[in-house]
């Protein structure tokens, strides 16, 4: 009466879960491909109607537009691809310095939120809440139109440029700050500073190792470090041949380094904006270290600074680094807003190129590739850094 056949034969294929899993995937893939092919088909039809082809040869044509500020030589009769490279270098100049400034601001503000000074804590709260609740673009407009153009504007053309605490000047042509000279002696001094910094780092490592393994006090090494620091400070102040900006005839400013107002505004806006987010990350990171860690470190006789450096910070960094990664990516992405201020970053040269050539499809592919690559590089670097600070487990 009973038939004992293999159970897999009994199940018809339309009730077999495994078949359905494959069928659903094929169906979804087919749907996506269908929609994609309709869209791309439309695109080629529309492009054909407009009389355009799809290729990248236009990058070899003459750009013919001007780029306000460059760090590599560029002329208007250079090729489009070179214009894009120049714009990309401007973006790099913006985001790399932005990372440094935003981190500095963020770490300072994050630590300030633990201060026992009521005024500092409240000011810090105001900074974070104001910056995070106002759109970045509005902040950038504020920096350029109110702060920098406001500082640079003179009541009459005969007035001298605005002085910045005596160390620099600002006028319509830009912001002038002191900058090291470029003579052979100055470069040698700079090289000396770099070598000295490496030497100081090695001495510090040596001292830490001695202190940890031999329990030595490391007094000799401490004196060496102090000597290096004094020598470094002297070289920094007098060896680099600082060029001070001076007001010449006709109220023009010469000497020092000229920074365009647009660059200064975008850099300030991005750094303060990202800095507020980093401050919150740093605050959360330090809060995540339990109070017992502090107390244990203090009980072992470490003073506040050492407890922070040796006990709390290494643990806080594990929480901080992954979130920092996304803030750096946001900074890189937000740097495209430089377009609205008039700083010629990659997106701005991209848009000019697109407007002139009308090659929307090719250009959007280049754009996607560039920003995805930038984010990939940031993530890779931060992941390396992350692995270095993560908990070492067996």
């Amino acid at each position: 009466m009973t038939q004992s056949t293999d159970s897999s034969e009994k199940i018809p294929f339309w009730r077999d879960d495994r078949v359905w899993r494959i069928l659903i995937q094929i169906a979804v893939l087919g749907l996506v491909l269908l929609i994609g092919s309709i869209l791309v088909g439309n695109m080629f039809r529309n492009l054909a109607q407009l009389g355009r082809q799809f290729n990248f040869s236009f990058l070899q044509n003459q750009a013919g537009f001007n780029i306000g500020e460059t760090i590599v030589p560029y002329q208007t009769n250079d090729k489009y691809w070179w214009a894009l490279v120049v714009g990309f270098l401007n973006t790099l100049r913006l985001i790399l310095l932005g990372f440094v400034l935003a981190t500095a601001i963020g770490v300072l503000a994050g630590i300030a939120s633990f201060s026992d000074n009521w005024l500092l804590k409240k000011l810090n709260w105001v900074y974070v809440e104001v910056v995070r609740n106002i759109p970045l673009l509005l902040q950038l407009f504020f920096w350029i139109f109110v702060v920098f153009y406001g500082l640079a504007s003179q009541k009459s053309p005969a007035d001298p440029p605005t002085s910045l605490l005596g160390a620099g000047y600002i006028n319509k042509t830009g912001l002038y700050i002191p900058w090291p000279g470029s003579g052979v002696g100055d470069l040698l001094a700079l090289l000396g500073l770099v070598v000295g910094a490496i030497a100081a780092f090695l001495v510090w490592r040596w001292r830490m190792k001695l202190m940890e393994t031999a329990g030595a006090l490391g007094k000799t090494q401490q004196w060496m470090l102090i000597g290096l620091a004094i020598a470094g400070l002297l070289v920094f102040l007098f060896g680099l041949g600082w060029q001070m900006p001076v007001v010449g005839d006709g109220n023009s400013v010469a000497g020092g380094l000229r920074i365009s107002l647009e660059y200064a505004a975008v850099l300030a806006g991005l750094s303060f904006y990202t800095g507020a987010f980093i401050a919150e990350i740093v605050r959360a990171g330090i809060q995540s270290v339990s109070k017992g860690q502090w107390e244990a470190a203090r009980a072992l006789g470490l003073h506040t600074g050492l407890a922070m450096q040796l006990v709390v910070l290494p643990q806080a960094l594990r929480v901080i680094i992954p979130s920092l990664n996304s803030q750096y990516q946001n900074l890189a992405k937000n740097s495209t807003l430089a377009l609205a201020i008039g700083y010629p970053d990659f997106f701005s040269t991209f848009q000019t190129t697109q407007n002139q050539t009308g090659r929307a499809v090719e250009m959007i592919l280049i754009l996607m590739a560039v920003y995805l690559l930038v984010n990939l590089v940031i993530t890779t670097v931060m992941n390396q850094f992350n692995q270095a600070v993560q908990l070492k487990e067996r």
Binding site: R21, I24, Q25, V28, L29, V32, L39, V40, N42, M43, R45, N46, L47, Q49, S115, D116, N117, W118, L119, L120, L123, E129, V130, R132, N133, I134, P135, L136, L137, L138, F141, F142, F145, V146, Y149, G150, Q329, K333, N334, S335, T336, L337, L339, A340, F347, Q351, Q354, A360, V361, I364, L367, M368, Y371, L372, N375, L376
Partner: protein, 404 residues
């Protein structure tokens, strides 16, 4: 065996241990470093405040704001149809008030002190703001409406348990009514969407974009969690590519590429293209937010519902998603706040939202150079909106927390 207690002191403690002097000493001057810091910060702060007040009362010309108030709020929406905006605002105020009342049903008091202070400040601004008298009365009327419907909702929530469900349906009905009031048609004079501007456009674009991004965002979040590799790869690829690109490039894509993707006989206006761009962008972020919520639901929930015999779609729809969405509401509010801020980027593709309209006002020779006044005003609007929402979402997080 007499124990002598110290005599009970009736004199007040010395001023150096309690009171303002002690507070100042403890919080501002407790070490030499803090003293220097306090003095330095105090000097900077005082200097800034004095020069700001001097600027605000002598140099600044605030005329740029009251003279253009309609532009800031509704752009070039026809003046004869302003009543429709007021009706819409009143409708939304009534619904929002009742929702607030329901959410606060567990609170001991509906009108707590911060709420009363907020209402008072809003009323004060409405009274002193230099607008025609009818507008001031309308603003105060709307505030009273919010407070009254909040009280109504609070009362109803305890009496009628299903009140929340009815309110959700009312919200769903309010949406088409809002569109009808704004766009016209069906008996109302049609208004061209290109005439919208200012805050109306900012709020409309962000609300519509987040609503439209929900279906795609939920699908992507589920897809990324799926055990089917093809679906998982496709969802992950979409989410990661969109999250890796700047919003500006997506808006550029929407304004330049979308017209190429659709048949050439269909024309989309700029507002629609902007909404498409923002929706595609927000969906990727929303997916990650919802994924966070999905991951917080314990496996036992899925297993229990499978054991009850629910199929996978029913398990997702009835058990997992409602819980996951509820958990991620605060994060979704955060996403909406950043979306609201991101709508300022629409000025770059040529729309006159709040920041864009102020740019065009500042280009008017009459108001040239009045950047600080106009930007401070818009900054204040954005700040109040965003701060109120994040405060509300923190409160919501507390009231939604049903774990015991």
């Amino acid at each position: 065996m007499t124990t002598s207690f110290p005599p009970a002191s009736t004199s007040r403690p010395p001023l150096a241990q309690i009171g303002p002097v002690a507070w100042v000493r403890k919080n501002l001057f407790n070490s030499w470093f803090n003293s220097i810091l306090t003095i330095l910060l105090g000097l900077i702060l005082g200097n800034t405040l004095v020069s700001f007040v001097r600027w605000a009362f002598s140099l600044a010309q605030w005329q740029v704001i009251p003279a253009n108030l309609p532009l800031y709020f509704v752009g070039r929406f026809p003046a004869s149809e302003y009543w429709r905006i007021w009706v819409l605002v009143a409708l939304l105020a009534a619904l929002a008030g009742q929702t607030w009342g329901i959410l606060a049903k567990t609170a001991p008091r509906l009108f707590s002190r911060p709420v009363l202070i907020g209402l008072a400040i809003a009323a004060l601004i409405a009274v002193i703001f230099p607008t025609p008298l009818p507008y001031r009365l309308l603003i105060i009327g709307i505030e009273v409406l919010v407070a009254a419907s909040a009280w109504f909702g609070w009362q109803m929530a305890s009496k009628v348990p299903s009140f929340g469900k009815w309110l959700a349906i009312a919200w769903a009905i309010a949406l088409p009514i809002a569109l009808w009031l704004l766009l016209g048609g069906f008996g109302l004079r049609p208004v061209n969407i290109n005439d919208w501007g200012g805050m109306l456009l900012t709020v409309f674009v962000s609300v519509v974009s987040i609503l439209l991004s929900f279906p795609l965002g939920i699908l992507l979040a589920l897809g990324r969690q799926s055990t089917l590799p093809v679906i998982r790869w496709l969802s992950t690829a979409y989410i990661e590519v969109v999250r890796g690109l700047p919003l500006l490039s997506i808006l550029f894509f929407a304004s330049v590429m979308v017209p190429l993707f659709i048949p050439s006989n269909i024309r989309l206006n700029l507002v629609m293209r902007a909404i498409i761009g923002l929706t595609l962008f927000t969906a990727a972020y929303l997916a990650e937010t919802i994924r966070g919520g999905l991951q917080s639901i314990p496996r036992g929930q899925t297993e229990a519902s499978r054991a009850l015999g629910l199929s996978t779609p029913l398990t997702l729809g009835l058990v997992v998603l409602p819980q996951a969405l509820k958990v991620s509401i605060p994060a979704i509010v955060g996403l909406f706040i950043s979306l609201l801020q991101d709508t300022t980027l629409l000025l770059i593709i040529g729309l006159f939202e709040l920041l864009g309209i102020s740019r065009s006002i500042l280009a008017n020779p009459q108001f040239i150079g009045r950047y600080a006044e106009a930007y401070l005003f818009i900054g204040l609007i954005f700040w109040v909106l965003c701060y109120a929402m994040s405060w509300g979402s923190r409160r919501l997080e507390q009231s939604l927390n049903t774990t015991h």
